[in-house]
Symmetry: D2
Subunit: 316 residues, 4 copies
């Protein structure tokens, strides 16, 4: 289902080439005056068309706040935000050819051929725009908490190596690893077991398209240590609950599946083998644009635990 959250409830909707994408956010305290310019800056970080490293496609992420805001402040009622789709070229998409590495095949199976195939439809990375919107609010709501993500590796090497341009030149793409550190967290967020900080954050982080791995506190490296060494880690989370120390996590992002090379695929209605060459404007690497999305997802996740844990909000 397209709902997430225990104490803060978000509900996303929309398709890449439909009318709009959006989100309903329920559970925000009344009286909060969001800085909409800051929200705009966060959305701009995610927007395409910023450099040669990302797609030249432009998205006009003009946000309309439909409800929940009155005289510039939250009312306590659900906040609905809509972002209209404007710059779409549906003709770039072929209905019956499953793009490799995309959800086309699984969506076709699950939705019995009725899903909106254009640009990935509801599965599109475009749906992360409303997440960034919600994350921008969450960041502003959390007093003294800071979310800082950055690309750690791109295509297996340093982000400074410009491996993206090489891939782009070869009509190919690369993935990468994003690390994120959250500072300013109090001790005591989260619960044991099913609402552990790791469980809740991972569930929203894995909701971000292309994320295929998540670790906390250097998880995979920890697994190779001895206890005497691992116990000296400055854990951000112990027993599912935050320690009050910085919380580090890392996500693995797979390469953009849309590449300009001819690929083997299947025809969805017949199941027959076919060839596909994906045209259109695609990111040779989604990692730079995923950075603010990861921060946003983390901020939403922390805000949910914050509200559930009855931690205070301070704003004028």
């Amino acid at each position: 289902m397209n709902n997430w959250g225990e104490a803060l409830k978000i509900s996303i909707f929309g398709e890449s080439h439909g009318k709009a994408v959006g989100i309903v956010i329920d559970g925000i305290v009344p009286g909060f005056a969001p800085d909409m310019e800051e929200v705009g800056r966060e959305l701009a970080r995610r927007a395409p068309g910023q450099s040669g490293l990302t797609t030249s496609r432009r998205e006009d992420d003009t946000v309309e706040i439909v409800s929940g805001l009155f005289e510039g402040r939250t009312t306590g009622a659900p906040l609905c935000c809509m972002i209209r789709n404007t710059n779409t070229r549906s003709s770039d998409y072929q209905r019956h050819l499953a793009r490799p590495g995309h959800a086309d095949y699984t969506a076709h199976i699950k939705y019995k051929g009725f899903s909106d195939y254009r640009g990935g439809g509801h599965f599109s990375g475009r749906l992360t725009a409303p997440l960034v919107f919600a994350g921008a609010l969450a960041k502003q709501l959390l007093p003294g908490v800071n979310f800082k993500a950055k690309p750690e590796l791109i295509g297996g090497v340093s982000p400074d190596d410009e491996t993206i341009l090489n891939a782009k030149a070869e009509n190919d793409s690369v993935g990468g690893i994003i690390s994120c550190v959250i500072t300013g967290l109090p001790a005591g967020l989260g619960e044991p077991f099913f609402s552990s900080t790791e469980s809740r954050l991972s569930s929203i982080l894995f909701s971000v398209p292309a994320v295929k791995g998540v670790e906390f506190d250097n998880g995979f490296a920890l697994a190779g240590m001895r206890g005497s060494e691992s116990n000296k880690t400055n854990f951000g989370i112990l027993g599912g609950i935050t320690t009050g120390k910085p919380l580090n996590f890392r996500v693995a992002v797979k390469p953009t599946p849309s590449i300009g090379q001819e690929q083997n695929t299947i025809e969805l209605t017949t199941g027959e083998p076919a060839k596909i060459t994906i045209s259109g404007r695609h990111d040779p690497c989604i990692v730079p644009r995923a950075v603010p999305v990861i921060e946003a997802a983390a901020a939403i996740g922390i805000l949910d635990l914050w509200i559930a844990g009855k931690f205070p909000f301070i704003f004028d």
Copy 2:
């Protein structure tokens, strides 16, 4: 909160050194006759005291099914299972010293000094016994689906290297990486975004104490590939939805925090630095016993998606 599941609802309870641990499972189809001997074998895989590689502490995991079973078959009403605690030595635990790498400190903060500290209380790995029970039922309920986990690396090396014995000899411990493959899954399980197969499985996998990393479809390795290569992966999940191919995932397990060496810690009530030497019988490596727990968590996660997706059950 201690509840998990959208279509299948589980609710765990209990403490390591309290009366019992247990689970309530709601949403199981009526008419299913569980093979209790098979359930017992699964619990035995998790039980301590099986070899020199695990703790010599014995747990008598005698399961009492309190409700939901009538004449050997599920009734459709909630199934409650209790496992009494018998072989406990609470004197091994010191109330006011936080064991490094454990939840003692965070539990103290969160529960304001009222949590049951003995053996980790509600945070104990003992709570995974009811999870294994539920997972054993889930496995039996899922026709043709097979869950096979195994240690892939222990202490950073092959599980065959007996690195556990070296660590044990030095009053130390090691962690490891468990890989799991799920075969026999239909295409179409899961949802986009928040109920993606990755989101739902990771949320229950990260509920298992000591798990600090989860990847699907070789996630972190994928992040270093080019799209042209990554697209050739036999993905078990695309767009959050199963493809019908085998689903591979990996979890990182941190080393057992309880080690026999003297360690630095703090006194919980005063915050003063202190020394702690943990006595008692502890696993030098939790990985072998975590293997059936990981399978169980995955089976519960898949069963939840299975029911939500209205996939059929077949049993006589």
Copy 3:
């Protein structure tokens, strides 16, 4: 929270005098082609301005389906519907005077003075328009199930007595009792206890503003019978589960609180006693317009149980 549903998830948003009201509906099967003219007829039944018995205020309930529909059919992704607010006269509302019988006082307390006070804001009956939209879809989705509500008593007498006009002439209002019968239900919907058909339906029926009583199967009359008589009732629900017989229920609707007479109230910021005379265009009786809302709420409730119970959908 503004979310409802176990298997079908709805999320409402909006304010009476804000930009729009709307709803996100998640969990609708793909491939369903809603009859939008029929949806429009349902909305028209709820719309004001239809006769002298209701307010002369017009609402232009033009529905925009923002997502979840592609080529006229549901895709399986969330369906978001928005209804813009157009014909609003906010000047009719005085910010600091609590209208008796309305939510003004409680909203002021709960939302610390930040709620949108205009026309009741998020508490407005205007929010039932999206409910009617969702209910119209639910009715079409449920094969062979029929929802038929009607006013049973208005102001304590027969709806034919035109007691509404008398009340209107005296700047007063009346409430009433709506009875509803649902036919065509299969046996087996609902669960014991917390998801009983009564629990689920009552929770959505009491969500409708002004509803203050709900009974099933002539509940309050049953309470005066002997068992030998009551057992002969054609119960629509037994043990929380539908019997397959017609399901009768009744709701009590309180009189419209907005009346043209001068009333005593308090000033919200000071708590001082005050006088209020409510101007504006208000229904002398909300019951006629509540009839389609009650049907809609019931249809949403039944659809949720229907999906949860895995009952089939049939549409071309």
Copy 4:
């Protein structure tokens, strides 16, 4: 499903003639020392065998708290309570004859013949014992809030008329109406729409077997008033949110379906008409024993809203 609650989560299990009935309660603040004698008194109010007006069957409601309590105080972890079934006479029940007015038929349909039929199994009023347990804790947790229910009408007349004895003498039964007043509530509990105080309370009140009607603030009588009169009501709830004034509600309880007279029924496996004479020890009127159950359900409901609204707890 057998789970209830947004902020407080309860999960009930058990059958009338199985091993036990019980409840898991999650979300209770740590450090609370329940008065177990008071809990016992509440359970005793619900227990059968107290007078000639209730069944002579005895239930030994010995409560075992399995988890969540340490050194007499709540730990913050889930509290599981079990009540063993001891005094059961399963031979009183005939497997294939649906008792009129009971859930036997609907349970048979829903659970495909696999439900535990003995004494109503999971549908039994016996399941209200764990509810009373949870309610007793809830009452103690809520500072200054008082729940006072009483029979208002029994068999349509004053409870003082001893109509129960007349019905009993004729092998018949009677129902009744219970009124309840909650005092000491703060203003601001509850939400608009789906989590309105009425929605949440009604959903748990209708979970109590035999409850077929619920009204708040004299709901059905309000429906016959004019607005000018109704607006003068001391509403306990406006817009779904508590006003801080006493909250009055009423529930309709149908007559005990188990009566000693021969009745017409059907044979469940064949659907053939049959005669049934119910033996065993049954309440000629469930109303007196339902009084503490209604208080308990209301207390659980209010506690859930209390926690969600972040109202404070005060205990030594």
